[in-house]
Subunit: 352 residues, 2 copies
């Protein structure tokens, strides 16, 4: 309780120290990509890991499977529309669905902080179980570690999923083609802004709920309707729609043009983004997918998406062009364009 | 620095609060088993999860695979003989090997603490890569999250592994039979005591190094030599040999009798256990396996183990009996016996 005077700088100075991990390295944007490329791949790189799809595809026992891992550190662990348990199920199952795989099983690894309220753990487990049951996917292996108070933040959950692949349906981030239609399955920004609102204790007139959901049913509808005309699937989580589209443009060496105003943004999400100075294009989603589909199949694909409750507000958001490969631009109402870059650092840490 | 008098009990009173997670829940002993049974299985239980082997066995694309997940929170993250990176590879690959599976791939999920030294991260990744390369197993999917300073302890790593199973070799914890020989592949206690020594800054005349290693080569030797005569395989990690044997005795509904003095314990490990008042039977191992083998095949199995550097000190440690099912006893030199129970709580937290 003693004020210390003259003992150093009294205002926190942000120091960007290249020798240390910073929050931005976990953002899903440029810093994450650099960490992966400069630190992880030189040690662990191999052709399967370097596919860099939402899930890896590799043969086991002679047939291809999909595998994806994700650790969830979302803060707060409970938020409108879900909690870390349901999110950990949806997030990994969606990564499998985005390579066209039918999810078969999940593993869960818990890090629990000493002193964690058992009632909270129960709610997380119940929510996880409900999400897994709804998707019809069992948890087949689990692990629990406990760390001392102050060495975690309530709990972290890793989920790893395995899926079965069909030989005739293999969307991938490098398969976008000039002319493809860019479809977005629903309104963007709800998941990220629900977390932000819960974290900051912001009360809105219209509450924002996370839209986290299992997207595999939408993928099945697309496959059944237009099959191999689906070139790319992606769920724009960390880093938001902007980062997902930039990754696809780079992997496929094409340009993407989005039409301003085409993207559905719920009113309350738009208001809060304005209020906090956030760009909704960088806000994480967990119940939305982006599909790059052959132009001739776009109408049928859109109709298929709209036939499901999760996709009823699906839109044609843009197209793939030959110009500016690797770059995403937004065509504004007045005929101008602006570049939609990747998220540089950490707009929203610990969103998943 | 002010002494507070008369403000309450001055000696820390351990309070066992049933409504909160305690360190003992992560010990691998009785409290871990109770947490699993009372909290996790009611929500997530299903026949595959309830196999409770080191890895789950289930069909994907029509043939059986093995899947295992483990999160590593070892403290300190570097210790004589390895670091959290190599440990995370060995730990999960060994879990696959213990159900008889050939490891095919790994996923890795990192939780990094803001401010983590990049040089330490590099050492961990290098060690992880070396362990994976030695085992011939690629990392196929990865994820990195960053949490604020004070919300982790440097870094935590989840690894999940997938393995291929043969139809003719299916050891399992419930397959021990009366008369089986209990083989232990080498000296016990080195991993746990190396961590303890590093954590407590204890210097020994004879340094103790973690023996963490990939055990699949020993499993292959056993399979090639005695095949289906191998009934149970287990790597006695958290909770030590005592907990592993108790789990097997319970799952197989048999008794286990160990011969006192038969178990190899390195001299320095025995000395430090004495010094710290620890029982080596509860100390974690990462480079040791226990095999329950048909009596007629025991000599051949022992010879097979001893033909490999990891198993050169393998011993016959005990036998499986019909009496006292679910219980492990140690026959002492004087003809008496004592019960070797499961670890009740947390002898050694954060050992893996």
């Amino acid at each position: 309780m003693t004020a210390t005077l003259g003992s150093g700088p009294s205002c926190p100075v942000p120091i960007l120290d290249a020798d240390r991990i910073q929050l931005g390295h976990g953002s899903g944007g440029k810093m994450s990509a650099a960490l992966l490329k400069e630190r992880f791949l030189p040690h662990l790189g191999n052709p399967v890991l370097e596919q860099l799809g939402d899930a890896a595809v590799l043969p086991v026992n002679g047939s291809d499977i999909a595998v994806s891992t994700d650790t969830f550190v979302v803060s707060p662990v409970e938020f409108p529309g879900g909690n870390i348990g349901s999110l950990a199920v949806h997030g990994t199952l969606n990564d499998l669905a985005m390579v066209g795989a039918r999810p078969v099983c999940l593993t869960v690894g818990f890090v629990l902080e000493e002193g964690l309220d058992m009632a909270l753990l129960d709610r997380v487990l119940a929510s996880m179980a409900a999400a897994a049951a709804e998707a019809g996917v069992p948890v087949v292996s689990g692990d629990t570690k406990v760390v001392e108070r102050g060495k975690a933040d309530k709990l972290y959950i890793n989920t790893t999923g395995i899926g079965e692949l069909r030989p005739d349906f293999r969307p991938g981030p490098d398969r976008a083609r000039v002319g493809d239609a860019v479809l977005v399955s629903g309104p963007i920004g709800s998941h990220g802004m629900a977390i932000m609102a819960a974290r900051e204790g912001i009360a809105f007139e219209a509450a924002i709920e996370s839209d986290a959901a299992t997207l595999f049913p939408l993928v099945e509808l697309l496959r059944e309707t237009v099959g191999p005309a689906v070139h790319v699937l992606r769920d724009p989580t960390r880093g938001g729609l902007a980062s997902a589209l930039n990754e696809i443009a780079a992997a496929s060496k094409v340009g993407v043009v989005l039409e301003d105003g085409a993207l559905p943004v719920p009113g309350p999400v738009a208001s809060v983004c304005d209020l906090l100075g956030l760009d909704v294009m960088y806000v994480a989603n967990e119940g939305v997918l982006v599909a790059f589909v052959e132009a001739a199949a776009a109408d049928a694909a859109l109709a298929a998406l709209r036939s499901h409750p999760l996709g009823r507000d699906a839109v044609l958001a843009g197209t793939v062009v030959r110009e500016h490969p690797g770059m995403v631009v937004l065509r504004t109402g007045l005929g101008g364009t602006r570049i939609v870059d990747m998220l540089p650092g950490d707009q929203l840490p610990r969103i998943c």
